[in-house]
Amino acid sequence: MKITVGKGSCGIAAGAGEIFSLLEQKAPAGCPVVVTGCIGMCYLEPIVNIETDDKNITFVKVNAEAADEILKYINGEENKASQYIIEREDLDNLNSQQRIALQNCGIIDPENIGEYIAREGYKAAEKCIKELTPEQVIDEIKISGLSGRGGAGFSTAFKWNAARSSKGDKKYVICNADEGDPGAFMDRAVIEGDPHAVIEGMLIAAYAIGADEGIVYVRAEYPLAIIRLELALKQAREKNLLGENIFGCDFCFDIRIKAGAGAFVCGEETALIASLEGERGMPRLKPPFPAEKGFWKKPSNINNVETYSNVPWIIRNGGAAFASMGTENSKGTKVFALTGKIAKGGLVEIPMGKTIYDVVYGVGGGIKDGKKFKAVQMGGPSGGCIPAELIDTMIDYKTLVAAGAMMGSGGMVVMDETTCMVDMARFFLDFTVKESCGKCIHCRIGNQRMLEILDRICDGNGREDDIELLSDLALQIKDGSLCALGQTAPNPVLTTLRYFLNEYEDHIKNKKCTAHQCKALLTYFIDNDKCTGCTLCAKKCPNKAISGEVKKAHSIDMEKCIKCGKCADACRFKAVVVD
């Protein structure tokens, strides 16, 4: 028997650390308690798995009480553990996914290389180094149709080939783990849950392009990922899976970690290189591409975490098997981080070609609290939104771009009827404005000006020509910015203008926010017919804006009202009306 506790960052945040210690202390002898990474069902954390010879039971939302019941169950005592067993539906959701990048996440102990090796770990690297030429490796990747999972979706084989063809005595393999999109945590989960998959992917890439040095650029805000990766590197070195003469061949490769200081723009590969070199993280113009002149001006291959973690599977199962999944343009699977107003938020991995509907209403379990689905923001601050009427849009690089969104790195923020789309666009633009490196004019000042326009629209001071000004400026910024951050920053504004123009017009012309999010545009009043004079609202009001006699209709003084909404929440008779 074995007890496994999901101890990814999400699990720990939900209390898995405490549960783990508790179980570890009290578990009977011969029943080891081990950790695993995130299995993706963040909404069910902490998750504890009991593995016996014949079965596997998953307990969810495990608190101290539940842990006790689980222990009783293990000890064969009378218990109430069954109420914590995962629901059939959730299990089906998990099993319905096609997991390649996440194949080991939430299953193996990421701190034990043996568990990775037991699941065919490092077999792919061994095959490449011992049996295949670098060209053959690249060919296999080419057959797989794997494209960069960091956002741009550029062909991985093409990049590898370019780095391979570039002349140079020294080459680098770099892993971009500077995951920065708000609401995205795919890469963190992969490193925390299956670090060796990334190491093995890099190892294969290094062999393919002829590099002997690898760097993982990971943001310092991912401390657990860094710890697990460090441990994994150490264990890999001990087994000579990194270092000199790997697999007894004359191929040498090692990896080190560079912790980034958390600048979003450092996810842009030229800024990442600048940061690696100790410079301010500012993008430069391409060409030359990193494959020609990268880190220290040497040929460098930069891929995202998820991209590398797909590589071992592809080599083991063949490029064709990978390419058999997905659409004509987009092969394999994609990991998404589902967040926002979704019922079952977390990480999911599905084959390309599924629809937004499949994700939101399938794996995601629909909208929280039975509310109405409005849109989904894909690709983070660089992406765009897909509205409810386009819910059948296929998950495919080209199709998403045509709809105004993008695959991005996998952030999927779900929005319901209570989301103001102008405010949403403002949120993402505010993010990019803060994260702009400040180098080029269009991005530095242009996005700031767009944000100011959105601010005034949300504050009820929108001007008649603001929509035109926004659209015009957005196009100029896209055209004139130096790097992808600036070029894509106006996307949330452009797609909301495209699909939710009526909301902008409501804000500007009618001074109304139909989603009731923009405070400056809201008015609160009490419906005299419904008010029973219970005085509850007046008691809850933090600014003494509500007055009235007991058992008589109350009224709100708009001069004093701070539009906090406490009265509406408190009223049991739906007498507080928000408009």
């Binding site: 080029c440 004019i441 000042i445 242009g446 055209d479 130096l482």
Partner: protein, 681 residues
């Protein structure tokens, strides 16, 4: 290196592999704008102005960093590139909070380089000061004596204590030049073979002549009076502007090759048509030489005379026609001409000089100093009085009946209108009444030119064009009528420019240039030391009222320098070199639509002699890169992110003092006026 061929803007050009599009365009004389590119440093690509379109590419390419390839077809000046550049410039300017030009310069109708010459004076570079003044005004000594100096009204030193004495400083510089054997004279341009006739040799006509000669055109001035100078010669009294000084400055214009024809009046001696037929262009600068009548009973009496007629008479008289000894003289009017007439009357020995003005001293259009000085010299101000009738004896003025007035509601001009106090009158005995209430154009000879209903010539505000082809008009004769000399000078300079274009067959189109301007308040200068304004030394009133010798004694060198050092240097030092403002005007920017948050930082001292004005910094990184890549010092860096990014000593360590060798390369590289090398003290 292998040669490549490409097509830029339809021109087949060749370059070498490894060269950027910008490099090759530059070599072939194709201008692509850029604010951040410099051959000395590595490609950077921050400004985005150098974008071009390439056939087969949907994106705009930054030409500074895109390497040219064989067969490329490049377009540098498409609607798309222009629009994108314009947006970049507008965005930059939406957060550019400096002042391109100082308020004094902008307030001057002739855009005199006040800040520049004041600084030269502060530095003791008097020749440079004169040279700079003469770029805009051909007669600094004269104008320095008479100008009512709108520049000083705009001067921001007022926000500290009092404005700089800009005009006296101009006189100071001009006088130093006058003391030399030969005045500084700008050189006439290479002869163009074109000839311009100017009618009227006053400040406007002379200025037009000066600037046309600089362009190399032949110039002849026709003037009705025996001497050139116009109102400066015949309107301004000797005690304010000694004629010797004026004539000496005028002589320097004659020296440039301007032909003076005096005693010739249009409509009497020759016709406008004659000039139009015999010259390539004509500029009318005849001024307004007819006094406006008083329109009250008795104005036809002997002893009633127009203000400017009186002043002209005094200026031209050879005998004692104007002996006022023991006389009582009344001067009607509140302007500078009235003051000149009052003070002239005093000097002619009048027993009593009355100034009749229907409002109070506060509403007088005359300069405050003129009023004060007149009062010191004994002029009796009869404010709030208005002539009703001039009575006579044997056709000769005897007395004046005055209506007592009081101030009523403000009128359209904001001044309170005078209204009669019913039944209150006063009679004063006078021998002469001088009417100085206005002046107008003598139309004779100019009937063909379209005129306003007030009888002034209609001239285009920007081009000075009249309805007649090739005829331009400036000064008191035009539009709103009589104004100050410097206004005529400003218009004349403008006219000389457009006449020049007209003579070259160019389209005369004037567009108001875009300039960055900011408002400042007292708080902005709260840290300045209070330094009071210099006082022009004067002869005592009792002494000066007896003669026509100049009343002002001029500033001493010490006083002038001290005064000049008070200058706040509001305008950008790099105005003429600033690439940003140059492009801004080229691309006709309208940054107002993007107005929003701006950066108002305090100036940073990078080290003791280099100052960085963040308000003007465009973050092109030129200084940072030059200090790193050219100098090898790496003393500057970027601090903060996004919109709040600023250039500072690297890692924001405070100052570069310890390691900076003051090479100044960062300052030279700055495309705007953000970096400034302070004068060594």
């Amino acid at each position: 290196m292998s040669e490549i061929r490409l097509n830029i803007d339809g021109i087949e050009v060749t370059g070498f592999k490894g060269q950027t599009i910008l490099d090759i365009a530059k070599e072939n004389g194709i201008d692509i704008p850029t604010l951040c590119h410099d051959e000395r440093v590595e490609i950077y690509g921050s400004c985005g102005l150098c974008v071009v379109e390439a056939e087969g590419t949907s994106k705009l390419l930054r030409s500074c960093s895109t390497f040219a390839a064989n067969g490329m077809i490049i377009k540098t000046n498409t609607d798309r590139t222009r629009k994108n550049r314009q947006t970049a410039l507008e965005l930059l300017l939406s957060d550019h909070t400096g002042d391109c030009r100082a308020p004094c310069v902008l307030a001057c109708p002739a855009q005199t380089e006040c800040q520049g010459y004041v600084k030269f004076i502060a530095e003791g570079k008097y020749d440079e000061a004169v040279k700079l003044i003469k770029e805009k005004i051909p007669f600094p000594s004269s104008i320095g004596r008479v100008c009512p100096h709108p520049c000083e009204e705009a001067c921001r030193r007022e926000l500290v204590e009092e404005p700089i004495s800009i005009c006296s400083l101009k006189q100071f510089a001009g006088d130093i030049d006058l003391d030399k054997d030969e005045l500084y004279t700008a050189e006439a341009g290479n002869p163009t073979g074109k000839n311009v006739a100017i009618i009227g040799g006053g400040p406007g006509g002379l200025t037009a002549a000066y600037f046309l000669r600089l362009q190399g055109h032949g110039v002849i001035i026709y003037d009705a009076m025996p001497q050139m100078g116009g109102m400066l010669q015949y309107g301004i009294p000797e005690y304010r502007l000694p004629k010797k000084i004026l004539q000496e400055e005028i002589k320097s214009i004659e020296k440039m090759g301007v032909i003076f024809k005096n005693n010739i009046k249009i409509g009497r001696d020759i016709t406008l048509d004659y000039l139009r037929n015999n010259y390539d262009a004509v500029i009318v600068a005849v001024g307004a030489w007819t006094s406006t009548g008083l329109r009250c009973k008795g104005e036809e009496l002997d002893g009633v005379v127009g203000g400017i007629d009186f002043l002209r008479g005094v200026a031209t008289t050879t005998d004692n026609n104007y002996d006022f000894t023991g006389c009582k003289i009344a001067i009607v009017g509140g302007g500078n001409t009235a003051m000149d007439a009052c003070r002239t009357a005093v000097r002619l020995g009048a027993a009593e000089v009355y100034n009749i003005y229907r409002r109070t001293k506060n509403e007088m259009p005359a300069e405050q100093i003129e009023i004060e000085e007149a009062e010191e010299e004994g002029v009796i101000f009869k404010n709030l009085t208005n002539p009703i009738e001039i009575t006579g004896d044997n056709g000769k003025v005897k007395a004046m009946r005055l209506q007592i007035m009081e101030l009523g509601e403000p009128d359209a001009s904001g001044r309170r209108s005078p209204v009669p106090v019913p039944g209150k009158e006063e009679i004063i005995e006078v021998d002469t009444v001088i009417v100085a209430i206005g002046q107008k154009l003598d139309k004779a000879g100019f009937e063909e030119i379209e005129q306003t209903k007030w009888g002034t010539i209609i001239a285009d505000e920007n081009t000075c064009r009249t309805n007649l082809n090739g005829v331009f008009a400036v000064g008191d004769a035009t539009n709103n009528g009589a104004d100050i000399a410097i206004a005529a000078i400003g218009e004349a300079k403008q006219a000389a420019e457009t006449v020049g274009k007209y003579l070259n067959g160019e389209n005369i189109k004037y567009e108001k240039p875009y300039l960055v301007k900011t408002e400042k308040t007292r708080e902005d200068f709260a840290d300045r030391e209070i330094l009071s304004r210099v006082k022009m030394p004067q002869r005592p009133a009792g002494e000066r009222r007896k003669d026509f010798l100049e009343i002002n004694l001029g500033l001493s060198e010490d006083a002038a320098k001290k005064e000049a050092l008070r200058c706040l240097e509001c305008g950008c030092h790099d105005f003429y070199e600033c690439k940003l403002i140059n492009y801004a005007n080229q691309y006709k920017v309208q940054p107002e639509k993007y107005s929003g948050k701006t950066h108002r930082y305090i100036q940073d001292d990078i080290q003791s002699c280099i100052e960085l004005n963040h308000e003007k910094c465009i973050l092109c990184g030129m200084c940072v890169r030059i200090c790193d890549e050219v100098v090898g010092a790496t003393l500057l860096g970027f601090v903060n992110r996004g919109f709040d990014t600023v250039v500072k000593p690297a890692f924001d360590i405070g100052s570069c003092e310890a390691d900076c060798v003051s090479c100044g390369k960062c300052v030279e590289g700055c495309p705007t006026g953000a970096l400034y090398k302070k004068a060594s003290k």
